[in-house]
Amino acid sequence: MKPIFMTYTKKDLINLAVCMVLSVLIIPTFIKTEYWYTSILIPWLCLALATIGQQIVMGYTGQLALGAAGFMAAGAFAMFNLILRVPDLGFVGSLIVSGLIAAAFGILFGLPSLKVRGIYLMVATLASQFFIIWMIDKFGWFKNYDSSGIITAQDIVILGKPFTTPLAMYFVCLAVTTILTLLAMNMARGSTGRNWMAVRDMDIAAESMGVSLLRTKVQAFAISAFYCGVAGALFAFCYLKSLEPVAFDIKLSFKILFMCILGGLGTINGAFIGAAFILLFPVLLNAIGNNVFHGAIDATIISSIEQVIFGLLMIIFMIYEPLGMAKLWENLKQSMKSKLSSSGIKGVKSPVLKK
């Protein structure tokens, strides 16, 4: 057994087991339509991973960064070039190196965080978003001098076996996301996460306790960019199956920001909840539009309404529950637990009545 499982509490192991069973056994058995994999599960896993990156730098360390999509692009194009030019590295090796390349950008563009914060820092991180995309666009080398404008991503081949069906790519994303999520949870719960949160909550006091602001902030930016880079590579290779800089524009950065905040700042759960919500809500709206109004409502109106609702939700959450949906979920679980225990049912966790 790998050591990463052994510090978890019983509750954690149960949660993990449930998630694994669901994602590895139940979903593939019962969900057969490709649409669910190509358009929902795969992008959800990729974007949740990128959102974990955003959580690390913003939710845990409190740095207002707005360049996630730029780092995703760095990772995606790094992956493309590595597979193209250094085939011996293999898929997993290329994925890790792509993440490291994105991390390097993260360190570079994270340096302003040592001097500024808040909106000032946000502006500085916007530089990374615009610069990285521009760089990829302008220097043909990154796109292998392909003038067609859309580069197809190479097939995923791991240990000689191709992973090209939606189900196969789903498993690739699932594996990578699971491993990186567990690593993130370990960091968040350990001394690393405490240092991040100390810098977020009261940096002067953190310094006075021996936390190095320089090292902690740069580390947060680097790790965050790594996660975004890997997420970007998966996003390009498993979801878009193509590489275009325009897919990683500022709108995507804002989307990830929303996923991070609505989901719950400073939680790993929040990354998954937020990503699921932002991805699924439009699907829901479209379904309502088509079934309830029988397609009478224009698609652009639907997307405008979606935008209004996301904006309203942001405002509402900031006013009433700044800790996001993850907190709402926690509150819900707590109130269910107290209801169950107050009505005299022992062993609240198990749904079986004990007399």
Partner: protein, 264 residues
């Protein structure tokens, strides 16, 4: 106090030399010097606005004085930062509380163990055995401090939800967790009732007695100052107007005038 100290008061551990600090045109501290001897309890007193908190901030590197130096164990520390002082063995609490609001009491105190955490993020991510060992040790030490301060029942509460008096205790706990040689306490008993103050005095003395930690505290309650401090330095308008044992400074006319508001 006529009893045998376990840790005899020794040489100067901290020296403040000719510090001057100004904000814009306002002079907060003017050419101030004093020292702190190892293992003693040193109080800094003075009327409001005398520059006491600013002095602590200069010592710990949060403010950069325009003039003067700070020496630690006889060596001048150039380019003081809070980090450097922490590494040298100096820790502190803050007047207006600087706790990590969203973190629990235990986690706040665990941050105090940062200097005793040598593992890097990758090792933490992979939960290697040495990470688990270190975490276990740090947790044990933190739990020791928590029970010492008698705050076991709130150890998992986010500190933002605690009443002021308990938050002050947690701040002390966090500073204690660093196992520093010297701790600066900025009004550790402000806003506390008689009982809470008695507890704090007890904790401060116990730490000084059992661990030998040098304590420097800014304090307004003269009763506390007389009771627990070995030596006192008195600041007024950013200058030292008295420096000696509690009895000496109580008899010092300048000090009496300052507190009574007599023109001087």
């Amino acid at each position: 106090m006529a009893y045998e100290r376990k840790f005899k008061i020794g040489k100067p551990i901290l020296e403040v030399n000719n510090i001057s600090l100004a904000f814009g045109g306002v002079k907060a501290i003017t050419d101030t010097s004093f020292n702190v001897l190892e293992h003693e309890v040193r109080a800094i007193i003075g009327p409001n606005g005398a520059g006491k908190s600013s002095m602590l901030n200069c010592i710990n590197g949060i403010y950069k004085p325009q003039q003067g130096t700070v020496s630690f164990r006889g060596q001048v520390v150039p380019n003081i930062t809070p980090n450097i002082m922490a590494q040298m063995g100096l820790s502190r609490t803050f007047q207006n509380l600087a706790l990590f609001k969203r973190m629990s009491v235990l986690d706040n105190i665990l941050v105090g163990r940062k200097l005793h955490t040598k593992t890097n993020f990758l090792e933490v991510a992979l939960q290697l055995p040495k990470v688990k060992k270190e975490e276990k040790l740090n947790r044990e030490r933190s739990e020791e401090i928590i029970s010492f301060l008698e705050i076991e029942d709130i150890k998992d509460t986010p500190v933002g939800k605690l009443p002021y008096g308990l938050q002050k205790k947690v701040e002390l706990g966090r500073a204690l967790a660093t196992d520093s040689s010297i701790i600066l306490l900025d009004e550790p008993m402000a806003g506390m009732n008689v009982e809470e103050k008695r507890d704090m005095c007890r904790f401060i003395l116990k730490v000084n007695d059992e661990l030998g930690t040098t304590m420097v505290l800014i304090e307004h309650d003269m009763g506390v100052v007389m009771d627990i401090s070995d030596r006192v330095v008195v600041l007024d308008y950013g200058k030292v107007i008295g420096d000696g044992t509690p009895d000496e400074i109580m008899a010092n006319q300048k000090v009496i005038d300052a507190y009574l508001g007599v023109e001087h």
